[in-house]
């Protein structure tokens, strides 16, 4: 049996884990194609016009898989942390796809709910495994294997390799690096090269080393976000705020690029928090890139070049600036 995994949302974060799990249960895993114009067009046609681009793309990627697989895997992710939610659209996406009137293979949507249950992850995988096998030992073995796969994937990320290099066989140059920039955004925005307009590649060509959340220890990031007087109730929000604070406080980067999808609910507020709490008070260089299906690559290149030039000049005269932290 072939199971299709759309290359959207948490794909760049959990694909190796899901792949290992399914393969251990004897399934063949087929990821959807890398986002292209055709996928974007079908997405825009079939989806809710008000959703953010990453959610819209789920429609296109599912349709891309339609002919190739027997089942489609769209987990219903309620929470990745105890007492913390995902964006409502992550909770509702299987329902949205199922009721969109697309003629597609059956959808498998296990609930991954770490918000209410500390054991949410293993519960979700058990529910998932039950679709294919009755044997609990088989599921547990597959789960252990999948955790191993995830761990080795995360270790490689922490060495500074981007998910694109691991999963999509891209190559980025390692020499001639003059600046470090932290890209603060969700993995499905930064690493989907259509959504981000190939931002990582452009920055790399400009001689910038990109740091992203994936390259830092998750727990450390979340610890940074705990300084907020009211705990954020979105895991993603905590991640973004924590990443920005981590990078700025430890002086790891020369500047920050925030990537925000048009219409993203949590980010509309998180951006405001980051700007008002972290970057504005100390004049830390920051640029926000808002993306939607109409964004053009040229506009992006212009802005990134300007930002990088500005940082380079600033670095040159850094000795003239007072240190702020």
């Amino acid at each position: 049996m072939k199971i299709g995994i759309p290359r959207v949302l948490l794909f760049y974060r959990y694909y190796p884990m899901w792949k290992a799990f399914f393969e251990n249960l004897g399934l063949e895993v087929v990821p959807s194609s890398i986002t292209n114009k055709e996928i974007v067009d079908t997405s825009v046609e079939t989806s809710v016009s008000e959703a953010c681009l990453p959610i819209k793309l789920v429609y296109g990627h599912v349709l891309d898989l339609k002919e190739k697989v027997d089942l489609i895997f769209i987990p219903r992710i309620v929470g990745l942390e105890y007492h913390t939610y995902m964006c409502p659209k992550f909770i509702g996406i299987p329902d949205m796809i199922r009721n969109a009137g697309l003629k597609i293979p059956p959808i498998i949507d296990p609930i991954i709910d770490k918000r209410n249950f500390r054991t949410g992850f293993i519960r979700g995988f058990f529910e998932l495994g039950r679709f294919f096998t009755k044997s609990s030992t088989k599921i547990i073995r597959a789960y252990v294997e999948s955790l191993k796969a995830l761990r080795s994937y995360n270790e490689r990320l922490k060495m500074g390799i981007t998910p694109l290099e691991i999963l999509d066989n891209r190559n980025f140059r390692k020499d001639g690096i003059k600046l470090k920039i932290g890209v603060v955004g969700h993995c499905y925005e930064i690493y989907d090269e259509f959504i981000s307009g190939g931002m990582i590649g452009i920055l790399n060509r400009l001689g910038v080393r990109v740091l992203s959340m994936e390259m830092v220890d998750w727990k450390d990031i979340l610890k940074e976000a705990d300084v907020l007087p009211k705990r954020l109730f979105w895991t993603f929000g905590r991640e973004l705020y924590g990443t920005a604070r981590y990078f700025i406080k430890r002086n790891l980067v020369d500047g920050i690029i925030m990537v925000v999808a048009f219409g993203c609910g949590p980010d509309s507020l998180i951006r405001e928090l980051i700007e008002r709490d972290l970057t504005k008070p100390i004049d830390f260089p920051e640029v926000t890139v808002t993306i939607d299906e109409h964004s053009s690559e040229l506009g992006l290149i212009t802005r990134l070049e300007a930002f990088v030039d500005m940082l380079a000049r600033r670095k040159q005269y850094e000795n003239n600036l007072s240190s702020v932290w």
Binding site: K89, I91, G265
Partner: protein, 361 residues
């Protein structure tokens, strides 16, 4: 301490009654206008949802009038509403307004919630507090009844604005009522006046439209362009899926009833798990209206509202399955009155034609 609050719709009567009863000086925010909206839009994050912008405008207008404390609710997500207070607090601070916040929020633990409640209650005795809450609750129920009846009467108005006049009078008297029996008296008189307008025999022939969606937009008359009034003027019986009572029941566990969960259950085949806000309930209410024989449903949401976007994605299917037309109106600061009017009128025309054809057959 001069206290102000985020107003929505007619709920202000009940909120003011409660605050006044607890002995606070209140500075009610001036009624929302386009000016309120433009103040809010100017300072709020660009992509935040509309209620955040309007309430921010309300606060600033109230502060200009002398308020120094803001009463607000918090939340535990996943809807953005739960973080409103935090963001608005920062914005007001950066603008240089020095205000105190009383945030009723459970996410920082019971201790903090109790502290906020204590500030609100002050030195009132528990019995007094219970009486005040009781009175406010009765006012909520009265406001809802006034609203419900006014919607039945509006299609039969003898002259334009007749019902509005009665409602405004009644609201004023309700505002002054200081005991439950007085509220009852106000309602009795109101019912009499309204009943004389309604033609009971023709009620069944009216086109009936249900209104579902996100609570602030559904209940706040300014935000939804007084959609109920507009529909009434077009000769349509417009009914809300919920009124203020249900919102209070949802947000305050003290008043919670199992009824809400029971009502939501019909949505399970479409949205299996709550997606926060009103997302799942929107589906349930739409199904409910279809089963009650309504002719159409209008779905209201603030632009980019996350739970409602999920609902919107599913509504098309519900509309087809239950054979009920749905018009989705997503509202933000760019929405124009003319656009809303045109769409409502077209929708009502379509429903009227459909209804009259059915009758002929």
């Amino acid at each position: 301490m001069k206290i102000t609050y985020p107003p929505f719709g007619d709920a202000r009567i009940a909120i003011e009654s409660m605050l006044r009863g607890l002995g606070h000086t209140i500075v009610p925010p001036p009624p929302s206008t386009n000016k309120t909206l433009s103040i809010g839009v100017k300072y709020a994050p660009e992509f935040a949802c509309l209620p955040l912008k309007i309430t921010l405008g309300n606060y600033i207008e109230a502060i200009e009038e002398g308020a120094d404390t803001i009463l607000m609710l918090g939340g535990i997500g996943p809807c953005r509403f739960g973080y409103y207070a935090e963001v608005q607090r920062r914005i007001l601070k950066d603008l240089g307004y020095n205000v105190d916040w009383i945030i009723l929020d459970l996410s920082n633990g019971w201790g903090n919630l109790l502290k906020s409640i204590k500030r609100l209650v002050g030195r009132n005795s528990p019995i007094r507090v219970i009486r005040v809450l009781q009175l406010a609750w009765e006012k909520v129920l009265a406001i809802d009844e006034i609203e419900k009846l006014s919607r039945r009467a509006r299609p039969f108005e003898r002259y334009k604005g007749e019902v509005d006049k009665i409602v405004q009078e009644t609201h004023k008297r309700l505002d002054q009522a200081e005991s439950i029996s007085q509220i009852k008296q106000v309602l009795v008189e109101y019912r009499e006046e309204i009943d004389s307008i309604i033609h009971k025999n023709d009620l069944e022939d009216l086109v009936k439209i249900g209104i579902v969606g996100e609570f602030y937009v559904v209940l706040d008359h300014f935000t939804n362009f007084e959609i109920a009034k507009r529909l009434g003027d077009l000769g349509v019986l417009a009914e809300n899926a919920f009124y203020i009572e249900e919102i209070v029941r949802i947000y305050f566990p003290l008043f919670r009833s199992g009824d809400i969960d029971r009502r939501t259950r019909v949505a399970l085949p479409y949205i299996k798990r709550s997606v926060g806000g009103e997302g799942q309930r929107t589906i349930a209410h739409t199904i409910e209206f279809a089963e009650k024989g309504f002719d159409g449903v209008i779905h209201l949401l603030p632009f980019t509202c996350m739970p409602e976007v999920v609902a919107e994605g599913v509504l098309e299917r519900v509309s087809r399955d239950y054979n009920i037309p749905v018009l989705t109106l997503s509202i933000d600061e760019q929405t124009g009155l003319a656009g809303i009017n045109t769409r409502i009128e077209a929708f009502v025309d379509m429903l009227k034609t459909k209804k009259s054809r059915r009758k002929v057959v």
